[in-house]
Amino acid sequence: MTTHPSLAIEATGLTKAFGDTQAVDGVDLAVRSGSVYGVLGPNGAGKTTTIRMLATLLRPDAGSARVLGHDIVTEADAVRGLVSLTGQLASVDEDLTGRENLILLGRLLGLKRAQAKARAAELLEAFGLADAAGRLVKNYSGGMRRRLDIAASIVVTPQLMFLDEPTTGLDPRSRNQVWDIIRALVAEGTTILLCTQYLDEADQLADGIAVIDRGKVIAEGTPAQLKASVGSGALHVRLLDPQQRPDAERVLARELGAAHGEPDPAALTAPCVSADRAAEAIGELSRSGVRVAGFSLGQPSLDEVFLALTGRPAEEQDPETATVTHEEQPA
């Protein structure tokens, strides 16, 4: 296998089965140094298994990968010296305090006692956890736990960071905080492999995205390419007067090609490829005398991406995490 120095991750044909379940079925990845690469897929698609192989926690059944130039099987120890992992389960010790967690990691990574303490204090301050530093992690909120988890991953700055669903289950505010931290990390030059179920998260953060389904990469590209291949987002319109909905539907269908009502009698939706087209359509509505209460331009959801790419909706295969609802980021 040839090695490109500009590639932080180079995986070919990674395969892993658990019993009869083919969790990862020949995944190829090429992740540029300094970029954020999103791996997008529903629960059970093989995202976590892929990350665990790349982070040297699992041995692939077949295929190979180099992380920062080191083979993940034969040079696993070298890989471990350069990467850090923020797992799907919070990878911090719940029975210790936040400060103790960070000191523990610092000591294990080779910092002297005083250095480890100073670094812990610095990180707790930076991540807004200084007030909770002496509390046991089991009493932390989900957002605090996540931030501590990421802080623990950068006690010593890694060259590459694996982030497995960093915002699943978080409220919008905590989610924004985590996104800000990830952006700051990238600005400092860390390469990030980000697994997520949310297209908008990948869209917000990632330079490139691989969509993974049933252990296989089914699409790859920039967020823009991916959204374009999916077709479009959607224009959601709310009317002041539900009586005008048939008129609005006619106008939107003429302007955007299709439109349909929603369960809410005052709301309707039309597929829409760009904000410009949406603005024109809204303008056309008001010219026709339809009074608009509000409108928004939504991105295609993971479900719509999957529907477009595979012709079937994303499957939730893990009943435990499938119930986690995705709260929309406030506009």
Binding site: L96, L108, A126
Partner: protein
Amino acid sequence: MSTAPTSPARPGPTAQEAALRSALSSTPRPPRASALSAALTFGWRGMLKVKHVPEQLLDVTITPVMFLLMFTYLFGGAISGSTEDYLQYILPGILVMSVLFTTVYSGVALNTDLTKGVVDRFRSLPIWRPAPLLGALLGDSVRYLVGGTVIIVLGLALGFRPGAGLGGVLAALALVLVFAFGLSWVFTTLGLVLRSPSAAMNAGFMGIFPLTFLSNVFVDPRTLPGALEAFVDVNPISHLATASRGLMEGTAASGSIIVALATAAALTAIFAPITTRLYRNKG
């Protein structure tokens, strides 16, 4: 009170953001932690857990105290004619039993750890592979020490008089701790093979319970039926109890001490690598 009309207030470029930036700016990677330092750090982790969850110490203190009081005052008279005589016989044995029973919890704790995400982080660190396991056992050894000390202090208060004085008692305690360290590796292996903490607990006690009772901890084996006596005589726990008695009484049985140390060494040599391997390959 009014709130911002658009979005939840996002902190602007504040002191916090500056702190974030400065915390993220690359710090030079320190040299790797030595094997010893990593193991001791994991030992420290074990100590912190005892500090935050002191109830953990209940099982290593209450149970042995109950056993000591129960056996001495309930069965002592019947077995040895007087509770005083029986205390002299059973105290080193209770010390062995209480510390060995505690070793089962090392496997339970490891199994519990595996259900948490933190193990993934430990396994992704560039550290000496057995460090988390060795460190946990070092931490557990402190708990064994606490349990053993409780027994000895209570025994002295009840009238136990070691012929070899404090030095003999400490030597016996040290020997029991070394043996417990070796035996712990068996239970950490079990903890990695079995599915749940309670399975690790049940399997552990299913093994250690009969092995301890089929030894000379409680009764003189000469009173036992022939086949049973033969088993008791080769049981390493009998040798450990005999050695502890010898050290405390000042009649050191060097043969038994050697058997006890050799058993600990053999258990470590076999089960420490198995545990490490299982831990590393745990999916």
